[in-house]
Symmetry: C2
Subunit: 299 residues, 2 copies
């Protein structure tokens, strides 16, 4: 098996699907890289792409996609529920097969340097690539969003890691980094009241006292007139999906609200879902490596 | 990838673990064959082995294991909750990778012929290998069990497919066949009353009006003093695990009984479990091939 790196660029466009198609075409044109999935949300006004490829191919793809986003997305005209600061908002690299985290950190730095120098977009390094602890957390970097970035970047502590201290006028600022796999997991509530989702998000996210490996915000899905708890599960073994799901159900009950359903955006490791089956079926002495057929076939 | 056939011999010994170890050593000694799993249950007094190997290797393994079972297991002294008719009770072959059902049928016939001629154990072909429709269903073949086989085999319609019309005095009769993968799924109830498990088994199994792809019996787990619904799920897409699980919960309520937990014996395809996660988390527009990471990595 050859080395495989995952890259999950998030673009600030989820409504104009012809732009999304152009991005998909760009992703599909890079040798050695496969576009595994892309998913657009009109409420978030955001698209999440999932690519996998060789170390060289994946860098090339990230750069070409950033250039395409710069060309086609204008953040001065962007509105949407999801926080964002750049046309390509964030570019994480994840070790998928036979690759180490250190390699993903190296790749992220090379890509960050080229985005700054070739596209004139300032870049912050985040998560495993962060050069100081204050920049590990993407939410801290993005706070203030596109509209607040010009002021924020003047402060010495928010000088970018690459590029000048002014956001690109239309493409803003990008965060690039290496991280472990995460699962984008959203839970939809049968209420139009976004404050219910926001209250629940605050309860379950680690930063305000909830589950350590859960990041959560509450947003409104205008097209369905419902509220959503939108999460990044950054360590599904430390904080399993079923646990936040059941806690959301429990907290929603305070408001007379119930769960409509959930969403997986992009990809999930099989084990994160099988852990949920194990919980709900109460499987005794379950052992993922032993009991799941595929673990024996694909060794 | 090379051809891979699965073989899941069921032995009528789940208490004397030194015999089980001898069987495991036998399975482990065949070139080109891997013993993926073995699981013994004292109440069932039965052990289920899961092997995978090349077409030639797997035939050799099945024959060597049948010979070892003949040598070490005496059915005249066997008691247990699970119905049985042979020392090696049943030997199914399952296409696992790059192999067709027809190849498994061919393998089953060669193994059946050799068990009859070399070990003097009569053999019935079942499931996909069955030569007539009455012999497709293992439960029909096994009805009467070891103790009733001598009489049953005298009837013209129960003449075995290979070998003579008398059971082997200590090793009985064996069923050999090819089939699709099945999941051995047991649900434990918080009651010592086996009749509750038997009533529920009757409700959920296809043969008496329940779920088409579910075979079920009710048994007693004496060591834990509880009853169990013991199932073979022969098509987990047609009858998903969560559906029988929830129906067992619903029916158990009549008796004031609840579910303690469940068991997967041997191996389960990842999708069978992920389908359950999809149900319990209410994941909207879930697509197994698209959303599960491993489907993209291992192609």
């Amino acid at each position: 098996m050859s080395k495989l790196i995952e890259c999950i660029p998030n673009f600030s466009e989820g409504r104009n699907l012809s732009i999304v198609e152009e991005l998909a075409d760009t992703a599909g044109s890079i040798p050695g890289v496969t576009l595994l999935d892309h998913s657009s949300d009109a409420n978030h006004n955001r698209s999440v792409f999932t690519l996998a490829g060789s170390p060289d191919g994946i860098q090339e793809a990230a750069l070409k996609l950033a250039a395409k986003a710069l060309e086609r997305i204008d953040l001065t005209k962007h509105t949407g529920e999801h926080p964002r600061m750049g046309a390509v908002d964030v570019i994480p690299f994840v070790p998928l097969r036979d690759a180490a985290m250190e390699e993903c950190v190296e790749i992220s730095k090379k890509v960050a340097e080229r985005i700054a120098s070739e596209l004139n977009i300032p870049v912050y390094l985040y998560e495993e690539s962060a050069l100081n602890p204050e920049r590990k957390n993407l939410a801290a970097i993005r706070k203030g969003q596109f509209e607040g970035m010009a002021d924020k970047m003047k402060r010495p502590e928010w000088s970018p890691d690459y590029g000048g201290r002014t956001p690109h006028p239309t493409a803003g600022v990008t965060a690039v980094g290496a991280r472990m796999p995460l699962i984008a997991f959203n839970v939809n509530l049968n209420t139009p009241d976004v404050n219910v989702a926001k209250s629940i998000a605050k309860i379950i996210r680690g930063s305000s006292g909830g589950f350590k490996y859960c990041k959560a915000i509450g947003i409104k899905l205008s097209d369905r007139n419902i509220a959503q708890v939108s999460m990044n599960m950054v360590n599904y073994e430390g904080t399993p999906l079923y646990r936040v799901f059941e806690m959301i159900r429990t907290e929603a009950r305070r408001y007379g609200v119930s769960i409509l359903g959930s969403e997986i955006i992009g990809l999930s490791p099989a084990k994160a879902l099988i852990d949920c089956a194990e919980y709900y079926l109460g499987i005794e002495e379950f052992n993922y490596k032993k009991h799941v057929l595929e673990n024996h076939i694909w060794q």
